[in-house]
Symmetry: D2
């Protein structure tokens, strides 16, 4: 049993970590922090957890207590992990940061998109981007994992086989993505009231969403040298439902297409959490709800030169807390699927 | 007062016609047909209509009774209108066909996409495609209107200003669209049960949706001569909600962009049912729910050469029955907005 | 044309008033107030209203400007109308107050349930409770209307025929009611996020909801003298949807039941906005969505002595803004259904 | 490892059994039947199960193959289990029947409510009603379990403490219950289309639902001798969501109330799947979604003599497949919570 800490446990990625870790055979959550809810039992805030964690209450973040953990998850808004990270690194704790704080490798670029200087640029270099399907070998030994965002996970997994093999024009990529409302977090707001977003659909952030530089960085990282730069038009949309991301990806084939179905199946043959559907399929977000799976389908409408990839994840699981646990499993030498094997909830 | 008939009134476009015509000052619904529900009062099937139409019951379609109407709406599956049209045309009735029967001007192409020979090719030539924003001048005198499909309406209105002015590469158009479930009609099925489609999102028909040839035909019709052919990648998606279509359109600018915002505002300045939102807006489907409006926003993310247009309609109103009434208003010389002026229902 | 003012127009009853008045032939909205949104065009907040009210912007409440209106609607939280009412009454304006400020005729009781002293007890006596099905004769001449709450409207209309005729034990009434989330208003909160309330159902306020004293007052008002006091167990529930109230009412028959179906049909035969469904029906909230109708069904399961009444309204229409306009129509001698005749939106 | 069979595996209780058994450490599903889907892999019908059950396909029901199983679950419409039961009993298989076939102990009563003669009256007497909170001691040794219905589970667990202790008038019980649409099963129908039931709420079956005799039988079974007969008014409602049952129960206290909170807490202190919430709580259906828990709250509004109990379950889990597995665990001497320990999915 390892001891885990969670910083910022009152949001949706926090409760999802708790839900998943409740049945993980090798992890005990020892400390969970929240300044606003100090002293409140977690089961009071999240009644689904009654019967689990009955002894656990939120506490003010304390580097010494966190320092006694084997692993600490940050489930915080951006900025928090940057501030606390040096103290934790010093204490030798291993960290999985679910926030955006260490995802972007260029501190200037981070500052541009997040509107303030990076608070801890000296640790960016040591952070490993926690997408196991790309960086599994680096994750095992990392002390600091920057866990990918939800849109970036669905989008990168969808584009990878095309880009790694230089099959498409990287300068004309399009990601039309849609997310459930839980992606907006558990914050008081008018904009995300059921009365405002139910029975409706809209795009948002089309002028520039913070996940854009993260995705482009990830796509460029897998592009062979000398074939150009990946450039993405990324339009996120808000779905009238709680969980799920659906990315519909468009790319222009460079020449004659190879067998796209075989390409995808081979690329992901050994990936426990990427499932390539049979040709002609359309993945449904509900087929991955509550699970750590990414399901993907690829097609080429009318046999023209535009390839379409559809990629679905649960934004709170493979898009956040599930992937964080997958990273932790790799870091601590556990079976990668430990605690993440339950099928999705359907219907 | 003119007399209206509705053929096939038990579906969602049927009840939407009834809802809208209930408050239209110049139209009385005289006959509504359904073989399956013969003799059943319409208010028994659609309790929202109690207090309106209390005398109206479904009857078996009878060309003589329909022939006494001034206007007949077809709210039927494809194939039905083709079979009955010659008899009605002969009797001099004016027809607004909400089905796909006369939308495609090439009978071969119709046959390919609809899987059977066209049943009435001799009348295709006289049918007017009822998109008032393009064909208003032809609608006024038409006897037979082919009312556009829901996706085609949202998509064409979104692309028109770009194509009419030859601003984008017509061979690389993308329409990523999403529809509420009412677009699938009022048919017993497992696939559209709430238990199957709530809390989920998926693409469908990516290999080729029947609206694709209709949209491409419409886009080519407005393209200036000699600038190439419009070719569209069209991926529809199913939203977990009842009403609304959202089309997110992508096109590659040919050269330096003009002022796209001004272009759209000018194109639609005099259109009563197309509303161009201020720059930076994202239209919500709920902003047009129950109304005949199409709301559009245009943007150019990162100032790159991909232009993004977002276009929303209510699939049952501007995407079907509302547009049918708009056509009828033009045909009979009524104010084009008559009976269609109520604001959308929000929240 | 009369001139109308709306105080507190940024909430859901405000936008519903605007939606309905946009097509009312005798009313022009001249002023709409909001301190927080001063200067903001209403169409910026509510995009469904674009093309209507394009000249109207929120302004700070000013008794002089409101004093020039023929009618003023209060769509405010409780307390606001009490503070402004003396000034408006003095100016001779007629007021329809949608808030709870003047519904309870006992100032002490109001203070107990609303947690502060009543701010204007001297005007309570002149306020007319605006339930037209009970008080139509008083509404015509009233200067101040206290428009009923949403639950109280559905519940009273459901119980009235039983209580007026002393058919049930008034001391054992039960109202099990459920409301869409729009009843909670347009306020930033975690509790009403889509992520919190979608796909879920719960009771709330079972220890005592503020609508309880209002309903009991209304039920007692129609009970014949000397037959006891009405006492209600009232449990509201929150539905995962936007609009609609469904009240399921239970009462114990005193003796042999009369023909309950006939009783209800006769009681409401001349009511334009109460529709008694055929025996065996179950009213759906969607059958009244966006409309001012209340639909009711009554039954007696297993022919035992418990009678069950089901009553549905749209909480924002017959439960608030529609009923306010119905009151206004009566006050100004317009046809009672003016501007309220459109059928409900279905599907 | 025991071998399990599932008869009728294409519905929602079937896929829920598969979801739960996929992570049960002691059970392997060996056979699953469906006449309509013979030969189809289960993962083709239920994509959430891909990666589990990849070898399992639907087969035609065969008593010999089922006879080789240790346990057989019936997830069928009523009538099917009655027809096959003698053959399975003879072969010594233990059966958990999720259908209504053996729930009612009076064959005449069954025939009255289900509209045909009972097909296997000779086995009714040996069937044990599988509500562990009442019949745990009988379940361990039973060969045939009649697994309770969803409404009956939520309702009985809510009423038990009051009735066992003769605290309320049993002749005036009311159960106002609401269910998600998955309770209606995976059958093609218009009535349960998302377009028909989303954004709406209604009662149904108020004249008499088939769960009524089952509930009354269960309530009478726990009532002390000589205190009268339990009689229930039961009104089910349909919620616009997939999973969850909420029962709001009303009863009239006979005399001075005891400490109701303590009563409930003590009654269920040792029950692993019944959770009594703190005083003042309102259980949400989402707090049990995907889990086998029943959460209950009890209150006494205004300190009057009507007690209100709120009881929530997931209709597919504690209301069907989870409870079936709980029964199986007891029958085979496994830990009662085995495979059922994961917390509910929230949000």
């Amino acid at each position: 049993m390892i001891k885990a800490g969670i910083v910022g446990g009152t949001g949706y990625t926090g409760v999802e970590l708790l839900r998943l870790l409740a049945v993980h055979p090798k992890v005990k959550v020892d400390v969970i922090t929240s300044r606003a809810e100090e002293g409140v039992p977690v089961t009071q805030l999240f009644t689904n957890l009654r019967g689990h964690y009955d002894e656990l209450a939120f506490s003010v973040p304390d580097p010494d207590r966190l320092g006694e953990c084997d692993v600490v998850f940050f489930a915080t808004p951006h900025g928090v992990a940057q501030a606390m990270m040096p103290e934790l690194m010093k204490r030798g704790v291993r960290v999985v940061d679910l926030s955006a704080d260490f995802r972007i490798r260029d501190a200037e670029l981070w500052a541009k998109w997040y509107g303030k200087p990076h608070g801890c640029p000296e640790l960016i270099g040591s952070a490993v981007y926690g997408l196991p399907e790309v960086n599994r070998h680096l994750i095992a030994d990392a002390q600091l994992i920057a866990c990918p965002g939800c849109y970036p996970t669905a989008t990168q997994l969808g584009f990878l086989p095309l880009l790694e093999n230089n099959l498409v024009d990287p300068s004309r990529l399009i990601a039309n993505a849609a997310s459930g409302t839980s992606g907006a977090g558990r914050q008081a707001s008018i904009d995300n009231l059921l009365s405002e977003v139910a029975d409706s659909f809209k795009a948002y952030g089309s002028a520039g969403h913070r996940h854009l530089p993260e995705i482009e960085q990830g796509l460029n990282a897998v592009l062979p040298k000398g074939v150009g730069r990946a450039q993405l038009t990324f339009v996120p949309h808000l779905l009238p439902m709680v969980r799920g991301i659906h990315a519909t990806l468009y790319a222009t084939l460079r020449g004659d297409a190879c067998d796209l179905q075989a390409l995808y199946e081979e690329r992901y043959a050994n990936e426990p959490f990427v499932d390539v559907l049979p040709a002609g399929s359309h993945p449904q977000t509900r087929s991955v709800k509550s699970s750590n799976m990414c399901r993907i389908a690829v097609c080429r409408p009318q046999q023209r030169d535009t390839v379409v990839v559809m990629s679905v994840i649960d934004n709170l699981t493979k898009g956040a807390s599930g992937q964080a646990i997958q990273n932790m499993n790799i870091m601590f030498g556990f079976d990668e699927t430990m605690g993440l094997a339950a099928p999705a909830l359907l219907p």
